[in-house]
Amino acid sequence: MQLSGTVNIKAPRQKVWNFLTDPNQVAPCAPGVEAVEVVEPGRKFRAIAAIGFGSVKARFNGDGEFVELEAPDRAKIKAHGNAPGSAADVMSEMFLSDGPDGTTEMRWTADIVVVGQLASLAARMMAPVSQKLAEQFFAAAKKKIEN
């Protein structure tokens, strides 16, 4: 499942970068995240997230890692999560560039592989719901950064 989007954030690039690469800041923006723990500062973190696709719900235990960091332009995150009967792998990349009037353009892509029960039970809802969740996440992050 390939998702992508662009968000314009009214904040300088370094501020956006600092926010989006800090798991403790980012986590509260992500829908369903219940807990986050930094394992290796600036690199590895662990999270628990409850995700629902319609009536199909799962609580994922996940590990995330910033595998590439090119401040303040590009970051690549790899994450793997397990839920009973399901597993998910995410490879996400974000690209920051200067937007008009001191804003920051953020382009993001995500390649998500979901296997198991969740994929079987929610196959047809997965892409639209994931896109919506991602949009919710970036909207929340944008709001926090801009405030």
């Binding site: 009973p84 592989v113 198991g116 079987s120």
Partner: protein, 782 residues
């Protein structure tokens, strides 16, 4: 005096009072003291290495009593099992999983809630491996190997017919048509899922195995063969198959859950119950179909079929665990020449491994007949259209003629009897074929798309003659044992096992016909290996052709003994006695008679000196040939050009299954069969995504027709008895499922042929039809 209700009587089903009042006794109704529950942790990956299994959190859940892993079973060499087709299949994996939803760890707990919590708490760490989903790609050089223990993903090659002569006939043909036809993977989706209750008694070394099986005796023998080394001995294994809520082939295979339950019961010394949930049933149990067919048909300048050729790729998932007779890797696919008279044919099938659940089963189809019939009936229709001939007339011209029976087909079968022209003519008369053609022409002129589809199928059922048919070496006979009680009532037991077909009624009617004992006085029992005579079970429409025949033959043995007793009672010579319905009378003196009830009483109270007391018999019937039911179906559809919706306006089904034992039950079987032909034709398909995730794992995504979608069926019949069956009967349980799909497909293509549409693969969903309409510029858009 109760009515005898022999052959041809639509007596009400004896089993229905208990079914209709919720008093059936299904596997989940059986409860034993101290019973534990078994649940299964399944793989989310279609292909992965197991790095670690951690049960520590699950073990802390109240009620969780234990776990079984592949490594536990490996100690007893029970982590794998043989399949009926000579392949192997994992019971529980030791290191790798091969399909999504494969069993990984079993959890045992004191109740169903605790077991579900335990399953959710087991943590398994996997290392994903490349996944093979497409069977064509599986056979490409360099493809990821699904099985480490095999040379490649190619399982076997099978062929029948004369390749060279067929090629010659194709070269000489005036018209050749070709089509690639995919018969998708589907699931039997019976109302009741699979399950079992294993009860090992460690003191007496005895196993009671209650399970949802269509073949209890075969299971008993397999258990004894596979687990003999750990103390399971056949005399101490009792397999009990209680009421079954639909089988359709899906309850023939041995699933890992059954074996794990036995192992758990042996390890813990307690009864262990395993009941699948709906998703487990859909995702992991054996599938049906999944044949990719390249089919070709040749005809001469007069439109006579001269040759047929089919090259097929069969997707078997990660193991060839088909439920088919040992010598028939592609089942009875060689029935593919169908109802037509030509002598050059060549069919071949290659089987491939993929990362999908293993199988497949004959879903209401006697071993790959559905696939063969669909391909042939599509070809015949394409040929007729291509030549500009009416599909009905084209069939009539090419049918095997009644006087040609017994007919030897190009691929080696001897068809027992048939009258294909009569069946199609009857269907045409019932539906008003000529008027429909006129209506279609008028509608097409107005831009309305109406289609008429015909399917004239020949089935092949009743496996089978023991010279050819066996399962793991056990010949495919079947059995009946009849005991007449002193008061003239009877009990009859069989090696088959009803899953809702009505055996308790129809077998009683066969015996009623032979002996004159009212069917309601004959108790029929199946499914307990301690009491029933050995048999190979019920699937592939074999019960009436085999065990039904055994019932006749056993009853006739009893009648012969009854004649001796009657002669003694009437003080007459045996050869002077005449049998009439339910009594023997002295030739010329009909009032000097003894009824079967009087004879039965005498068999225990006043039998002749020197004769053994009692009145009972057993018969193991080995049929001399299969039976070949047939029929002609005509379907009329209207296609909505705005949505692609196909509306089935009419469906006439004329079936010929030889002698009808209980016409009402036959009609019920045909109704059910037609619905199970409609469903895959228009709705059902098991789909997998690129990661091997099954995307039809619930009834939200795997579509079954409800009463709303189901068409109205109009039934007709012709009767052409089987010449070799004792009562002339043929199997009928599967005819409609086999024969119906091409009628729908042919109707849809007929509606769209003038646009340039030659073929559409089933299931024919509205989006698929709408895309076709769009592609050919015929869709109505807003």
């Amino acid at each position: 005096m109760a009515e005898i209700n022999g052959l041809g009587h639509s007596m009400k089903r004896k089993e229905d009072p208990r079914f209709l009042q919720g008093k059936g006794n299904y596997i989940d109704d059986i409860k034993l003291p101290g019973m534990l529950w078994l649940g299964i942790v399944r793989s989310p990956y279609a292909h992965a290495r197991i790095k670690n299994i951690d049960t520590s959190k699950a073990a802390k859940i109240p009620g969780v009593a234990g776990f079984v892993t592949g490594k536990d079973l490996e100690k007893y060499n029970l982590h794998w099992m043989p399949t009926l087709m000579g392949d192997t299949q994992m019971v529980l994996p030791v290191d790798t999983v091969k399909y999504q939803a494969q069993e990984v760890v079993a959890v045992i707990a004191t109740d169903r809630y605790a077991v579900a919590d335990g399953v959710a708490a087991v943590e398994v760490e996997y290392e994903p491996l490349p996944v093979v989903v497409d069977p064509y790609k599986a056979l490409e050089p360099g493809a990821t190997k699904v099985r480490d223990d095999k040379q490649s993903n190619h399982i076997w090659h099978w062929g029948a017919g004369d390749e060279a002569a067929t090629a010659q006939a194709f070269e000489a043909a005036a018209t050749v048509v070709k089509e690639h036809i995919y018969i998708p993977r589907i699931h039997v989706a019976s109302i009741e899922t699979c399950g079992c209750l294993a009860n090992w008694d460690p003191i007496n070394k005895h196993l009671d195995m209650y399970m949802t099986t269509q073949a209890p005796h075969a299971i008993r023998t397999v258990l004894a063969l596979v687990a003999g080394h750990v103390g399971l001995s056949e005399e101490n294994i009792r397999v009990i198959s209680p009421d079954i809520g639909g089988g359709f082939g899906g309850k023939v295979p041995v699933y890992p859950g059954y074996v794990i339950a036995v192992a758990a019961s042996v390890l813990l010394g307690k009864p262990v119950k395993w009941i699948e949930d709906r998703s487990e049933n859909l995702q992991a149990d054996s599938f049906a179909r999944d044949y990719h067919i390249d089919a070709e048909l040749a005809a001469d300048k007069d439109g006579r079929i001269t040759a047929m050729r089919m090259k097929t790729l069969a997707d078997h998932g990660y193991s060839d665990s088909q439920a088919a007779p040992s010598k028939f890797p592609a089942g009875l696919f060689s029935i593919a020449t169908g109802s037509y008279d030509f002598q050059k044919a060549f069919v071949e099938v290659d089987a491939a491994y993929t990362n999908k659940p293993p199988g497949g089963v004959a879903y209401r189809c006697s071993f790959r007949v559905t696939e063969a019939v669909h391909a042939m009936e599509r070809l015949v229709d394409i040929m007729a259209h291509e030549r500009g001939e009416d599909p009905a007339a084209f069939r009539m011209k090419n049918f095997i003629r009644p006087e040609q029976f017994p007919y030897h087909s190009a691929l080696g079968w001897e068809y027992d009897s048939g009258n294909y022209h009569a069946a199609l003519q009857k269907a045409m008369d019932m539906i008003g074929y000529a008027d429909l053609l006129k209506e279609q022409t008028e509608k097409r002129a107005r831009g309305e798309f109406m289609g008429i589809g015909i399917s004239s199928f020949t089935e092949i059922v009743g496996a089978g003659p023991s010279s050819q048919f066996d399962i793991i070496g056990i010949k495919m006979f079947d059995s009946a044992e009849i005991r007449i009680h002193p008061t003239g009532k009877a009990i009859a037991r069989f090696g088959t096992k009803s899953q809702g077909q009505g055996h308790e009624t129809t077998y009683a009617q066969i015996i009623a016909e032979e002996l004159g004992i009212p069917a309601e006085h004959i108790k029929v029992e199946e499914g307990d290996t301690d009491t029933a005579p050995y048999g190979l079970g019920t699937y592939a429409s074999r019960s009436t052709p085999t065990a039904g025949a055994a019932a006749s033959m056993a009853a006739r043995k009893i009648r012969e003994k009854a004649r001796k007793i009657a002669a003694h009672l009437l003080e007459a010579a045996e050869e002077d006695l005449v049998w009439d319905t339910n009594k023997f009378y002295v030739k010329g003196s009909p009032d000097k008679a003894k009824t079967i009830q009087e004879i039965a009483f005498a068999a225990y109270t006043n039998h002749p000196q020197g004769m053994e007391a009692g009145l009972e018999a057993v018969n193991y019937y080995d049929p001399p040939n299969l039976t070949f039911p047939f029929g002609s179906y005509i379907c009329v559809v209207d296609i909505d050009r705005g949505t692609g919706q196909v509306k089935v306006r009419r469906f006439v089904a004329v079936d010929d299954c030889g002698t009808r034992i209980n016409p009402m039950i036959v009609e019920g079987q045909i109704h059910g069969g037609l619905n199970m032909g409609f469903a895959p034709a228009m709705m059902e398909e098991m789909q997998y995504d690129e990661h091997g995730n099954i995307t039809g794992g619930t009834f939200m995504d795997y579509l079954l027709p409800t009463a709303v979608e189901s068409p109205r069926w109009e039934l007709g019949e012709t009767t052409t008895p089987s010449p070799h069956h004792p009562i002339g009967a043929k199997g009928v349980g599967e005819s409609a499922t086999v024969g119906a799909p091409p009628a729908f497909a042919n109707a849809v293509v007929d509606a769209l042929w003038h646009l340039g549409v030659r073929h559409v693969d089933i299931p024919i969903t509205a989006p698929k039809v709408y895309d076709l309409l769009k592609k050919h510029g015929a869709a109505l858009e807003e």
